[in-house]
Each structure stands twice: as C-alpha cells, then as structure tokens.
Amino acid sequence: MPSAIPYFLKCCISRGRWLAVLMLLSGSAFSADFHVTVSDIAAPAFSAHGISLDLSADGSAELKIELLKLPQREFRPVRLRCGGFSLSGEQMVCQHGKLDALPDAALAFSYDFTTHALVLTLTAAGGESWQVQGALGAAWQLSAQMRNARVARLAGLLSQDVARPAAGRLDGSLRLAGDASGARQFSADLRVAELAFSDASGQHAAEKLQGSVGIEAQRRGAGWAWRGNLDWQSGELYWQPWYLQGAHAMQAAGRLEGDHLLIEQAQAELSGVGRVEFSADWSVQRQGLQQAMLRGEHLALGQLFDTWLKPLLGKGVLAESALSGAADVALEYRNGALQALQLGLHDAGIADATQRFALQGVNSTLDWHADQARTARISFAGGQLLGVPLGAGAWTVNMNGLDFSVPQAELAILDGRLSLQDFHCFRTGNDWRWHFAGALSPVSMERLSTAAGWPKMLGMLAGRIPQVSYDGEAVRVEGALLFDVFDGTVVATKIELANAFGRAPRLSGNLAMRNLDLDLLTRTFSFGNMQGRIDADVQNLELQDWQPLRFDARLSSSAGDYPKKISQKAVQNISSLGGAGASAALQRSFLGFFENFGYDRIGWSCVMRNGVCTMGGIGEDGGHTYTLVRGGGIPAISVMGYNRAVSWPELVTRLKRVTQNNVSPVVR
C-alpha cells in the first residue's frame, strides 16, 4: 500500500504547480497507521496549504487541509473523514465520508487511477442527493445530477460580493466535457423551487422563485456558441431598481467571444406586457451594454412603463404618471446612446398622479433617428389641464436627434383655443431647454373657473403669450404677457420662475392691471358689490413656493367716467380688513337707511416685506390714518384706515373669512 502513495500524490499534484512538497511517512511495520503531510499545492484555480492525510488501521482515513483557497473564497481548515477508505494502485475509495463543513450530509467518492473515472455523491435527509461523475482522461467529462438538492449549500463556495443563495431546492443535471485544450461542451437542465438569494446590500435579491433553466453551449474556435431558455413561473425578484414578479419566459441564442457576451436572437414573454424580441452585445469586463436592438408589438404601455421604465426615471412629473394603451416599439442602442426609435402608439394615454394633467386617445407613428431629420404626426382625442378639459388635436413634430420643434399647433380649451407658435425643445449638455410663443383666443371665464374649481368668475379670458423660455434652471417670459380678464387687461412683465422644477420654485415679476370691472370682480369673490373700475399694480413681486416674499401693491380707481357705487356689505368688509378702528370713520347714521353709497375714489396700497404689509390709502395721508374710500355723490361714504402695519398672513385670513363666509354686515 505505501508504494501507491507517491503515485497518487504525483497523479493529483501534477495537474497543479509544485511549490514545495514535504512528504513524511510515519509508521512502521509494527503499526498500520500512516501519516502523510504535503505542505503546499498551488494551481491556477486553487491553492491548498498544510495538507495531511491520516490512514488508520481500522480502514478509516482523515484528510485535512489547513487553508484551501478558491477564487474569491478561503476555507480553513477543511477536514474530511472517511469511515471506510481504501487506496490501491488502481483506485481510491472513500465511503461513509463526512465533511466538517457539511455535517448533515454523507459523502462518498471513488477515483480510478487507470480509467480516471471519478464518482462523488453527497446525500442528506429529505431525499437530497448531489452526484458528480467524471472521466478525467485526455478527453474528459464531468456531470452532476441533483435531486431535491439544497441550493444554500453553494453559498459557501461563492464570494460575499455576489448574490448568494439562502434557500431553495434544485433538481436537474449539469454536464461539462473537454479535452487537453480545455472545455468544449457544456449543458445544464435545472429546475428550482422556493429559491431565495440575496447579496450583502439586499439590492439584488429574490424570494420563492420557481422555474427552470436550460443551457447548451459548444466551443466554436476561441469562443462559445450557446442556446438557452428560462421559464420563470412564480416568485419575486428585486434587482435594483427593478422589482419583478413571475411569470416571464425567455429563449435566447448567441455566442461568447472573449469579453463579449453576444445575444444574437432572443424572445422574452414579459408578464402583463407582451412579447419582445431582442439582440445585445454585453461587455463582461466593463459590465456594460455595447449594442442592442429590441422589438415588440402591441405591448401594454401601462405595465411596460410601471415595471420597466418608471424605476429608471427617479423623481419628476413623468415618474408620477400612469400610462395606458398599447405601443409598438423598435429601438436600436449603440455607442452608449439610443440611435433609433420607432414608436407606434395606439389609443395611448398619460395621466399624472395628482390629476394635474391628462391626455387620452393618443395615436402616433414616430420614426426617430439620432442623426436624421424626421417628421412625426401625433393626434390625441382630448385631455385635461388642472381640471380644465382640453379638446382633440393633431400636431406635426419635426425631429432632428434631440431637437424637437412644432412650428404651429392648436389646443382646444373649452370654448377657446390656445395657439402655440414655434415650440422648440432641445438638449444642451445634460439640460433640456425649450421655448414657445402663443395666443389664447377668448375662453369663457365662467366655464374655465368652474372647471378649475376656482371661484366662479365672469367675463372672458384671452391673451397673448410672448416668447416663453426655459434654460435648464428658470422659465422666463420675454416681453409682456397680456390677458383680458374682468373686462380689463392684465399685463405681466419680467416674469421669471427660478428653480422651476425644483423643491421651492421662486417666481418674480411685475403685474399691471387696468380697468378691471369691480362689479365682475366683487361678484366673483363674494365681497359685497362694488361698481366702478379699478387699476392695480403689483411691482417687485416675489413668490417662493407660491407664497409671497415681497411686493409693492397699489389699487386705485381707474381714470374716466363711470358709475361708482359701493354696497353696505362691501363697506363693512373693507373696514374689517383695515382692522379694529377702521369702522370708526363710518357715518353710521346713514348705513341703516341705504343699501348703496356713492364714492369718488378708492385707493389702497401695501408694501409687503418680511410678512408685514405696510398699508396706505388714496394719497399721501399723514400720520396713522389713511383714506381707503373717499365719498362722493349722495349718499356719500368715506372709509378710513387706522392701522398701517398688518401681518400679511393675518390680512389673508381676514380676506378669506370675508369672501368665504359671505357674512352679512351687522349694522346697528
């Protein structure tokens, strides 16, 4: 028997590289115990340090490796005990073996030195078995059959950096064959049940996976040709940023050449989405997609967007939207960017989560190329913006790479129409920029305000929108934004919305309103009727997150000749806005008798800074008092203000109370 030991060691070690072999044979003719020590074995795929083999007289043996290094993994120590061990010139057999690392499993193996046949079996409770068979000659092959095998056993062999199995059962077979030049053929036919795995960060994990995988691969020259199928029946997977639930199925075929994993042709059946065909070139080293093509017809847009696209979008209006309808998609990806996209939309729709906008019945055939000019026609059946219904429309979009323009477009809004001119949207660096001009033909304010859920306003809204542009940070209106409202005009200038799509947008600008009809205005806000015309200027207006930071406001009666009347209720409301003391100026004796009063002028000003409104009246009144309404005609009434400084939030609260409660004045 000792004569066979050097032969065995030579046979095994000759596959690796000698570092140093120290062999000590201890024992004597009087004892049947042998102790063999081998210091180091190093091979490309593994290294072992401090190997010792003890053979006992009772036929058992113990193999111990102090340190076994596999790629990315270390084991120390590894100890295998064989209840029955035999070693002859022909073969080595281990029966009733136990590996320290697998205390619940029984291990047995045999190796024939002549035929180089290897058989290794691992069995455990619950009908679990792993059987490896191999013929390790010049033309070698290894195969493995698993039955009800615990996948978690593989976790110990894998690096901590990759997703490692924690639970699940495996059935099926693996086969690897080759010759002296290396592996030439590989096949796998595996079924998993209740599979769970996770990496250390928990960002790549799965639970209760059930399905099957089949792979066939042959060596072709320096690379491999392969074919595979995946049938994922149930279970869930989180592969950051995607969360997927079964069922999905995929068949694919391709090659592996050097660094490139080529998927030449693949079909995937994506649950709830439809069938897609694709090809891809994946760089294994760079872990990146080099090239890809994808095609799918009549895909369900809702699920496609929710499951596959939304997780890539992060925050934003689009990321909080829902899509519907169907799409035909064909895309080409190359050189790190999308090169072409053909998109057919069939009765598609988009709606944002907070009901701010929606578009329905979108149909389009879009043929976009990164470096070619194309034209697309997009039609839609209708939609809504802030509750206001939008009519049907059809737009022609000129596309030239990441440059989109719409020379002329119309959008029906209630009984009016928004005309867009020279809409242009393009990308510079990482920012999207856009600009447009437009006009709004008269829309009924009554219908508009009702639809938007505002106080019911009367009159018509019409306007001219000069150039509006977005430079990646702020939206700016060049020139004057002009609207007709309350039978007067509103001109907005120097309008700028900084941090437009950020957390706290900041709006600044000036407003000049002329000849607003007080009757329409006061009826709208249930303020108590006033008749006449008013001009209002709001200069240096600054809003942050739509709350005023500062402004200089001034209201005054418009120039010209027109009836001027103010109701008892309006007088009371104005005086209550002025705070305690303002009503002291009311000529109370008249109030009880008259419903309406005449006036000569109305004036009010507010300089708002740091939440405090410093008020003034018609002119430069001295001291603490100021005139808000100067009487004129018969019966006449004047309203004085006495408090110059009022907290802005307090003033807003009072105004809300007056307009919302619609309180009747109490006149004594």
């Binding site: 928990g202 869930e236 950051q240 957390r503 706290a504 809003l543 942050q544 997150d545 709350q547």
Partner: protein, 142 residues
C-alpha cells in the same frame, strides 16, 4: 528672530480668522423661516411618517453627514425595497436642499457644510433609542 515673530503673528491671524468664521457661523439662524424652508420642511414632515417604520425596523439609519442611508435592506420585504430606496433618495435630496436654503436665507451660501454638520448632530440627538446611526465604526444602535 524677526522671521519667527512674523510667523507667530501669521499663526495668530490664522487663528483669529478661524475663530471669527466660527463666531460668524454661530450667528447663523437655523430656524430661519422662508417659504422655501417651509416647503422643504413640510415635505420632510410628510415623509417622516413613512420613514419611521423603516427607522424602527433598522432598514434605514441616520448618517453622521446629515443624511439617511439604507442600513439593512434585508429587513424590508422585496416588494417594498423600491419604495424604501425612493424614500431615502427623496429624503436626502430634501435635506441637501434644506441646508442650501438655510445657508442662502442667512445670506451665506458658503455655510452649507457647517449647517449640514449642525443638523447632522441634531438628527442623531433626536433619533429614538433603537434607531441605527452610521458612525466611523460602522452601524451602531442608539
């Protein structure tokens, strides 16, 4: 001798400059009230209720850099991991915006980092016992 005195003087100036920067920062109003700060705080407050269960379970912890981070994603069911990642990203974006906004409101955008450090200490101080804090030694339970 003269050179040594000059060097000493330089050191004194440097120390003085450092102290005055510190004093100036100490004057920063961290409770400054602007619509921007209010908007961010309101958004963070609304999110806090969603984050609390994840702080409690140890899925999310608090960093010493004034940010929050995933501590143990394994504590979250797979179906909720997208949500918890999104919450952490949104919270950190808000915190970054809050520090900038407070620095801007104080008229000193360059104070951003000091404000962040001060808030970092506050968040840790306000964290409930049992929540996880990311220290130089790794994750530690408060």
């Amino acid at each position: 001798m003269r050179t040594a005195a000059l060097s000493h003087l330089k050191k004194l100036f440097a120390l003085f400059a450092l102290l005055s920067v510190f004093n100036v920062f100490a004057a920063a109003d961290l409770e400054v009230n602007t619509p921007g700060v209010n908007a961010i705080k309101a958004s963070m407050q609304a999110r806090h209720a969603q984050l609390v269960p994840f702080y409690n379970s140890g899925a999310v912890g608090i960093g010493m850099d004034g940010m929050v981070a995933i501590c143990s994603a394994g504590a979250v069911p797979l179906a909720q991991r997208q949500t918890v990642n999104a919450l952490v990203n949104a919270e950190n974006a808000d915190r970054e915006a809050l520090y900038s906004e407070i620095a801007n409101a104080n008229g000193h955008p360059e104070w951003h980092n000091e404000i962040r450090q001060t808030f970092a200490q506050r968040w840790i101080q306000y964290a409930r016992p049992g929540w996880w804090i990311l220290t130089e030694r790794g994750w530690v339970q408060k």
